[in-house]
Subunit: 291 residues, 4 copies
């Protein structure tokens, strides 16, 4: 982790806490890297156990072994969690951070499962530990990529919200329209159900559990399908058509930009139209580039 | 609202009408903002009531409360509508504008429902009031965005129409072809039905309520599916492949543009091929930027 | 039509043939435009009749009227076809051109239907006359757009073929794999059937008439689904992520290009990174442009 | 093949081996091209036989002929394989290369089929010989394109892996959530099954073999569907909206770049904002270009 995050949590200054911290939170030493690798293996293995345990045929055979493994994992993750809390200077900060909450959620289910068996399926939450796995594997790179992705999403949040709100309104109005046109007899038993159908149609998923039976209903469905697919196809098609059309209209010379290999610059152009680099002077007998 | 729209409707000059106008149509004063927030809450709540009321299990329990709420909302919206008409100087202009019509449609259904019970589902039209909600929340921003979206759609209308007409022709011809090949016995009972199937296939929705059973039919279906998916995949794939291919062909130097961090400029380039900014002079021993 | 195409078909030089030609093939005169409009109406009406006639409920009622209308249309289109052949100087050229074949196909079915009733569904081929309709409506514009589209497709044909061949190979290999894993008992009755299923899966249509039942089969299906959807999502996501990431990294200045309104140019940039226009000199106290 | 690959395998120096090599591995001579064309025909034909043989109706009729053809193809491909091994100087290198393995897999199945009938479906592996077909048809071009495609994929592998890992995590968490909410009674019999359903939903395939029945389940499904479709629609829509919005904001002049026909340049612009070419001096009365 960067020193920035270290200061957030409070990197200890000396002693056994510092040694523990370098192993758990940092990956510069051999012990640190070994710890991370062991942690990754433990996470993947524990998730696989949860998946396998949910399949009746498998749990019937290996159920006992799975229970033992599950307790082993839980104890190991509990020790790790307590170790993390113990070695940072601001344990409360870690406990309330995203990864701290994930760690806690990872171990609580097993204890709950003993007391409340119906919570047993929450054991998969351990997959969220995989987020930490990416972090330790190639710390800087992945941290940068997920952070970049996160920042990009946050930056575009208004456009996304406006777009999604428009979709929700269309889906609500068209869904209710279908509810009126088709009616409960044809599967559209309520407006929420109709809206669910409208979403499956506009996102082109099309489960088929509810389908329009009347002609008017099928007409409205067609409009929705074209809307949902068109939102993808129309911009893509228009943008590509324009790019190719512009290429069609270029004067047919073989002047090639030596930077980006774009052909067909006008005789009087000085700069590459694609990349802005300065083009070589125009030689009418320049051999066409191979391809 | 901008003074432009105010002039459209006729902003009153003085008196109680002006005070009312500033509350209802403008959001500069505290009363104006409170009014807008209360309106948003009322709109969302009334729509939620409509949705809940359509679910039998819920309406069986709370039907009576919903009716009372619905009348309360209707009366509130009626008062609001009449207030709007009363305080502008050109009430007819408001009544015939998009939002004026939406407001009227929002209250009429409840009155109709008393007289004509089968119109009860049109109460959801209130969602259109949400359009007004976005407007009052972040007036300038959203107004600009929806207007920009609307103008963009209007500007591209010809390309969209040409594209859609091509899709409609393909869907009509292929649909009738399937109608001939598969026949009513396999679900393709008429050409309109076959066209509906063709749309579900080309837009990749694929409900599955009608499916081809013959080999020739499945062959034609495959062509349609590849057409519909390919319209999305082929341009995307080609554009991306070209972008990446061009990056592959760059001379392998580590010259990095300090504006956009694009690597690999040719030794003789003066301007960044990606962003056009002037590159630093070429130093053969420049350390590669960390990544 | 342009004089180019006129020369192709042989524009007559004088007399009744020239007058007929100007009405049918050209839209400069009032008679020519009236003819085109009447033709459009006739085409749309005749196609609507074919569609309506295929719906049993409707044809049971209006079948007789449809037959009469159909013969009227056929006679009208026959007269038009013969008129076209009569007034051009190279009738054979027209008869073998795309539109000439479409015109012939438009009238033959009705005659066939008398002799061979099972060909009755080919009457929809008249929709191909709609292609001519676009041409006469806004001749230059649409002709340019469809021709541009056609040329663009022809120009990219190799990339499209390479891309499609890769898709076909994946679909063939994965389909046969599913045929081996799932077997005829689960619906994968033959390799062609399995390939049909593979296409519905990779193009994300997902009819659901054939679905994998075994765990291994579902695993392979998941891979195919991610392949088909990923071909769309991965490039789109990567391109957008890069665009947004680059915007993240720009130095936070408010220097705005007055051409394209792109913000955030570096203090030392001389040219707009987006459009290459020369930027105004940097004034540190330039007010930020309104959003 | 390029001399680079030739040196990999060891182009023989003289004699019958060199003559054989030029026919099989090279396409410069007439014999070489004939060989390649015959090979293509043999590959396509043998694959078609495998496909046809898997259809019961067809194999019932022509099964005998198919068996004979299959042995003929196998013998031909065996001879070709042995010939390839015989004429290169490093046969082991060829045998372990991708195409060498494909060739071996192409002939082994028939021999296996005699000994182990249940492997009969692996005969389709011959489609992989089609890879070699593309190579011989337009060697340089296709080699370049597939290699370019391969290199592009390898270069982007990290972004792709990060993206896919994010998708897998979402699908695993949401799938298990549905498993908890819907339960085995509604088809979500195990977590792997629920994850399979989540993938069909997020990739918008939507088979419909498993569908949510509860209201909460349908709500979660709606979120997943909007996620899967939105990953495609939101970036496309945002990028296109920005492109069009920028075009909206340009000053309305008719200054047209003579290179790319982009209209609407500002009066003071010197370079085309789209293509960077120098614009003609501004004439206020320039006639708008026809469109």
């Amino acid at each position: 982790m960067t020193s920035e995050t270290a200061d957030d949590l409070g990197r200890p200054l000396s002693g056994w806490r510092l040694r523990l911290y370098t192993i758990i939170f940092e990956a510069d030493t051999r012990a640190g890297r070994l710890f991370d690798q062991a942690l990754i293996v433990a996470i993947v293995a524990s998730v696989a156990v949860v998946l396998a345990d949910s399949v009746h045929a498998v749990s019937a055979r290996y159920g006992g072994a799975f229970d033992v493994l599950e307790w082993a994992f839980t104890l190991a993750f509990t020790v790790e969690y307590l170790a993390r809390l113990a070695c940072v200077r601001r344990p409360w900060r870690y406990a309330t951070s995203f990864f701290g909450v994930v760690d806690l959620l990872s171990i609580l289910p097993t204890y709950f499962a003993v007391l409340f068996p119906e919570w047993q399926s929450l054991l998969d939450v351990r997959i969220l530990r995989l987020l930490r796995v990416f972090r330790v594997l190639k710390l800087a790179a992945y941290l940068q990529e997920y952070q970049a992705l996160g920042r990009a999403l946050v930056a575009s949040r208004r456009k996304v919200l406006v777009f999604l709100s428009a979709v929700m309104m269309i889906v609500l109005v068209m869904g209710t329209l279908m509810y009126v046109v088709e009616g409960p007899a044809n599967g559209f038993t309520s407006i929420p159900t109709a809206v669910y159908w409208a979403i499956t149609t506009m996102t082109t998923v099309g489960f088929g559990d509810i389908t329009p039976k009347t002609d008017v209903g099928r007409l409205i469905s067609s409009v929705m399908m074209l809307l949902g697919w068109g939102t993808l196809a129309v911009p893509t098609g228009i943008v590509t058509a324009e790019m190719t059309a512009r290429r069609m209209l270029r004067p047919p010379t073989t002047r090639t930009c030596h930077e980006c290999l774009t052909e067909g610059h006008a005789p009087e152009a000085d700069f590459c139209m694609h990349c802005g680099a300065r083009l070589h002077a125009y030689h009418a007998d320049e051999p066409p580039p191979g391809r």
